[in-house]
C-alpha cells in the first residue's frame, strides 16, 4: 500500500495512463503533474518517482517542479481545499472575517488540514475577481461575491461532503461587469474575420499595418508590438526542425487585474484570431496560451471554441483554405505562480520546468519556447492586433495619443460604485475614470497593481498613457477611510510569497521587507525599519534578476512618500517629528485642482477600523 492507501500497481497504472495521454513528453511535465494531482488530491513521493521514470527525467527535477507551484501539493491536503483570495480589495470587502468565520464553523485552524482530512482553509494571491469579491477557490474552482450567509452555507456543504458539482451554480457565477465599451469591447466581428483580412493583406503588408498602428504591449512593459513580430519573423529557427511560436500570456497574476479574464470569457474568438494573425505574420504554425490556474474554469469553453475553429477551417492545415498556411493553438494551465507572467519564466513553465526567469539576452524573439523564435504577447495586445488586421493600422493610430495609440482596458476595483471593466482611448485622465466609476472619496489609486504606482489626490489629473502614467490596466481605488499602510503591507507579503527565489536580493529582500512591515504593524517599529525599507528598495530595484524583484518595494516607496503619517503613527518612538509638513506640501496641488475639501488635506485621518 502507498501512503495514500493506493496500491503501487494501481498508482503505476493511473500515472502511466496520464503520461501516455501527454505523449510521454517531458515538456508537458507541469500538465501531467496537474492531472496526477487531480486524480490523487496530492502528489505523494511515490507518484513523483513513477512520473519521473515514465518521462525519463531525474526524479529530483520532477520534485523541483512540483515544489515550485502553489497549487501543487507534496503533502496530503483536505478533500476540500478552500483558498481565500488575499488581494487587498478582497480584504476591504471583509475576506479576513469570512475566513475566520469559515474556520470557526469547521472547527479548524487556518493553514492546517482537519484531522479527518476533510478540509483545509488558507489564503492565495489575488484570484482576479476583484470586481465581484470577496472571492475564493474550492479545489481550484472560483467562487465569487462571498457573504456571511454564503460562507455558512459553504461550511454546511463541506461538512455534508456535497460534491462541488452539486453546489448552487450561482456561487460560481462570474460576471463580465463591462462598464464602458470602446472600439474593442463594442466590436462584433465573426470568428475568422480578422484572420481572413490578414491573409488577404499578406504577411509583409500585415506587418506594415502593425507598424502603422504603433500598437504597444498591453501586458505592462509597453514594448512596441510590430518590432517584436518583425524580429521573430526575421529570426531563423534552430536545430533540425526550425520553427516559430506565438505565445499568449494569459497569466494575469497582477493583483487587481481582471480584464484578460473578460476577454477570455467573451472575446475568445478575437483573441484566437489575433494569435492566428500573429502566427501568419511571423510565420509560426503553433500557438500556445498560458492560462493561469485561477481561470481553469474557462478551459472547457476555450477548448470548445478551438474545436469549432478547427471544424470551420480557422485552425489546422490550410487556414481559410490557403494551402501552406497552417496554425493550431494549444492551452497550457499554470499552477499558481505570479512570476510565470514574466515572459521568460512563462516559457520555462510552458516547457514543464520551474518558473524561473531566464537570463536575457537572448530574448524570446530569437530564442524562446524550445529555443525557437517566439512572440509573447498579452491577451489584450493580441485582441488589438486582430482589430488592426480588420480596420488597418492608420485607424488604430487615430485613437488615443501619439505615443500611446488605441484604447486600453482598465480593471477598476476597490472603493467605487461600479467596479468592472472600462475601455478608454489612451490619454484619459485618472480623474475622469474615477468620476465614471463613482469613486467618491478616493485618497489613492494603485495603478497597474502592486508593481505599478500609487497615486494620491494631487496626482489624479494625470493621464493614462505610456508617456504619463503607464498601466497594465489595474486601478484599485482606496477611499479616504482606508489605511494605506495596510495596503502596502498586503503588497509586501504578496511579493514575498511570489518571489521565485532565484536571485538573492528578491528572495531574501522581499521577506525582510515583509518582516519590517509586520514589525511596524505590531507597534514595534521605529524610524530604523523605515530606513531599512528604503535601503532594501534601492538594492532590489537595481540588482534583482527580473521585474518582480525590481518592483517589489515600489508600493512601499510610493506610500512612504505620499502617506508617511500612516506609517509614523505606528512607530514606537513617538517623539519623531515628520521631516516636512505633508499637508503644506499639497497646497500647490490643491490650488491646481481647485479643491479644498477634506480629502484634499492630510490632517486628522482616522485610523483603520475607527472609521
Amino acid at each position: 500500500m502507498g501512503e495514500d492507501g493506493i496500491e503501487a500497481e494501481r498508482l503505476d497504472e493511473l500515472l502511466l495512463g496520464i503520461v501516455e495521454r501527454h505523449g510521454g513528453d517531458p515538456g508537458r511535465l507541469l500538465q501531467i503533474l496537474r492531472e496526477a494531482q487531480d486524480a490523487l488530491t496530492y502528489l505523494p513521493a511515490a507518484a513523483l518517482t513513477v512520473i519521473a521514470r515514465a518521462l525519463g527525467l531525474p526524479r529530483a527535477r520532477v520534485e523541483g517542479v512540483a515544489g515550485f507551484y502553489s497549487f501543487l501539493h507534496l503533502a496530503p491536503v483536505g478533500r476540500y481545499r478552500v483558498l481565500f483570495s488575499d488581494n487587498i480589495t478582497d480584504r476591504m470587502l471583509g475576506s479576513g472575517e469570512l475566513l475566520d468565520r469559515l474556520c470557526n464553523r469547521l472547527w479548524i485552524e487556518r493553514g492546517k488540514v482537519s484531522e479527518d482530512g476533510l478540509v483545509s482553509v488558507d489564503t492565495t494571491s489575488c484570484t482576479g475577481m476583484c470586481d465581484q469579491g470577496p472571492a475564493l477557490l474550492v479545489n481550484g474552482r472560483a467562487l465569487t461575491r462571498l457573504s456571511a450567509e454564503r460562507i455558512d452555507r459553504i461550511g454546511d456543504l463541506i461538512r455534508a461532503q456535497v460534491p462541488l458539482a452539486d453546489w448552487p451554480g450561482e456561487y460560481f457565477r462570474v460576471d463580465d461587469n463591462i462598464r464602458r465599451r470602446d472600439v474593442l469591447l463594442s466590436s462584433q466581428w465573426l470568428a475568422g474575420e480578422a484572420l481572413r483580412a490578414a491573409i488577404a493583406r499578406g504577411a509583409e503588408a500585415m506587418l506594415e499595418e502593425m507598424k502603422r498602428s504603433n500598437l504597444r504591449g498591453r501586458g505592462g512593459a509597453g514594448f512596441t508590438t510590430h518590432i517584436k513580430w518583425e524580429s521573430a519573423r526575421r529570426a531563423t529557427g534552430r536545430g533540425e526542425r526550425p520553427t516559430r511560436y506565438v505565445v499568449c500570456n494569459a497569466d494575469e497574476g497582477e493583483p487587481g487585474t481582471f480584464k484578460d479574464r473578460v476577454l477570455l470569457t467573451s472575446y475568445a474568438d478575437l483573441l484566437f484570431d489575433g494569435m492566428s494573425v500573429a502566427g501568419f505574420t511571423i510565420g509560426a504554425s503553433r500557438g500556445l496560451v498560458y492560462l493561469r490556474a485561477e481561470y481553469a474554469y474557462l478551459l472547457p469553453s476555450l477548448l470548445e471554441n478551438l474545436e469549432r475553429r478547427r471544424q470551420s477551417g480557422l485552425l489546422g492545415e490550410a487556414l481559410c483554405g490557403q494551402s501552406g498556411v497552417a496554425f493550431d493553438i494549444e492551452i497550457h494551465l499554470g499552477a499558481g505562480a505570479y512570476v510565470c507572467g514574466e515572459e521568460t519564466a512563462l516559457l520555462e513553465s510552458l516547457e514543464g520546468k520551474r518558473g524561473v526567469p531566464r537570463i536575457r539576452p537572448p530574448f524570446p524573439v530569437s530564442e524562446g519556447y524550445l529555443g525557437q523564435p517566439t512572440v509573447v504577447n498579452n491577451v489584450e495586445t493580441l485582441c488589438k492586433a486582430a482589430l488592426i488586421a480588420i480596420e488597418g493600422g492608420a485607424w488604430f493610430a487615430g485613437l488615443g495619443t501619439k505615443q500611446s495609440t488605441g484604447t486600453k482596458l482598465l480593471s477598476v476595483s476597490g472603493d467605487v460604485e461600479s467596479p468592472g471593466i472600462y475601455e478608454y482611448p489612451f490619454g484619459v485622465s485618472l480623474a475622469q475614470v474615477l468620476r465614471d466609476c463613482g469613486a467618491g472619496n478616493a485618497q489613492a489609486v494603485q495603478v497597474s497593481g502592486p508593481s505599478g504606482s500609487c497615486l494620491a489626490t494631487h496626482e489624479f489629473s494625470r493621464r493614462f498613457a505610456f508617456e504619463d502614467v503607464p498601466t497594465a490596466g489595474a486601478c484599485m481605488v482606496f477611499g479616504a477611510h482606508r489605511d494605506m499602510f495596510e495596503v502596502a503591507r498586503n503588497f509586501a507579503h504578496f511579493f514575498a510569497h511570489e518571489s521565485c527565489g532565484f536571485c538573492t536580493p528578491c528572495r531574501v529582500g522581499t521577506s525582510l521587507v515583509a518582516g519590517c512591515m509586520d514589525k511596524i504593524a505590531n507597534g514595534h517599529g521605529s524610524q530604523y525599519e523605515i530606513n531599512e525599507i528604503f535601503q532594501i528598495h534601492r538594492l532590489l530595484h537595481v540588482a534583482s534578476h527580473c521585474g518582480l524583484g525590481q518592483a517589489a518595494c515600489n508600493p512601499l516607496f510610493d506610500t512612504l512618500h505620499r502617506f508617511r503619517p500612516a506609517y509614523e503613527r505606528r512607530l514606537r518612538s513617538l517623539d519623531f517629528a515628520p521631516a516636512f509638513d505633508l499637508d503644506q506640501a499639497l497646497a500647490a496641488a490643491r490650488q491646481m485642482t481647485g479643491r479644498d475639501d477634506a480629502a484634499a488635506h492630510f490632517n486628522e485621518r482616522p485610523l483603520a477600523g475607527e472609521a
Binding site: P58, R354, T504, L512, V542
Partner: protein, 241 residues
Amino acid sequence: MKTILLDGLPLPFADGQTIMEAATEAGIFIPHLCHHPEFKPQGSCKLCTVKANGRYVSACTLPAKDGMEVENNSPDLNDKRRTLLQMLFVEGNHFCPSCEKSGNCMLQALAYELEMLTPHFEQFYPDRPVDASHPEVLLDFNRCILCELCVRASRDVDGKNVFALSGRGIRKHLIVNAESGRLADTDFSLADKAAQVCPVGVILQKRKGFAIPIGRRRYDVEPIAMQVECAPSRTSGEQES
C-alpha cells in the same frame, strides 16, 4: 581589438565573452559566488553586480561589448554587495567558528574582503536538518547559499543529476535525487565533480575534518581578491599550492 573599460582600465575581450570572463582573464577580481569558470553562467547570487554604461547588470552573464564602460570596485557597488552578503548570512545558519569550511569558504572570504562587520539583518534561523546518510559525505544544508554549482556539476560534468532545487522564494531549498530524500540513496560518489564545487560548507567529506589547520587555509593565506582564477583550475575546499 575590442575592449571594455573596467574602472577605467582597458581590457581586451573576444566575442561572446562576458564581462566576468574578460576581467578574469586580465586578473581583475569581480566578487562572485554562483559563478565558476568551468560552468555555464547562472546569474543568481548577484554578487557580481557591476554598472555597465550606467546600468546595473550581472557581470557573469552579460556579454562584453566594444567600448562598454564598466564600474566594478566602487563604494556604491561594494555597499550593495555587502548587503547581499548579509542577506545570505541571515538566510541560512552560518556559525563560522565551528565550520569545517572556515578559511576555505568563499562566502566568508568575501565577507572579509567587503568588510562586512555584522550580519545587520535579523537572523531567519531556518530549520534545515543535516543529511549524514552517505558513507563518505555529509550534507549540512544550514550553509547552503543556493548557488546551484553542485546542481550544474552533477548534471553537466558527472551526468548524474544528484542535486536539484525545490520550493519557491524564501522556501527554496536543495534536494537530492531519491524518493527517500537521502543522499545515501542516490548514486552520488566522493569522486564526483559535484563533491568538489561547493563554495561554502555544505558538501563535506566525512572523517577528513580540519586536515589543514584554520589560519593556514586558502583565504587565510591570501585574500580572495588576490586569487583570480581562470578555467579550469579551482577545486574549492582544497588549498592550492
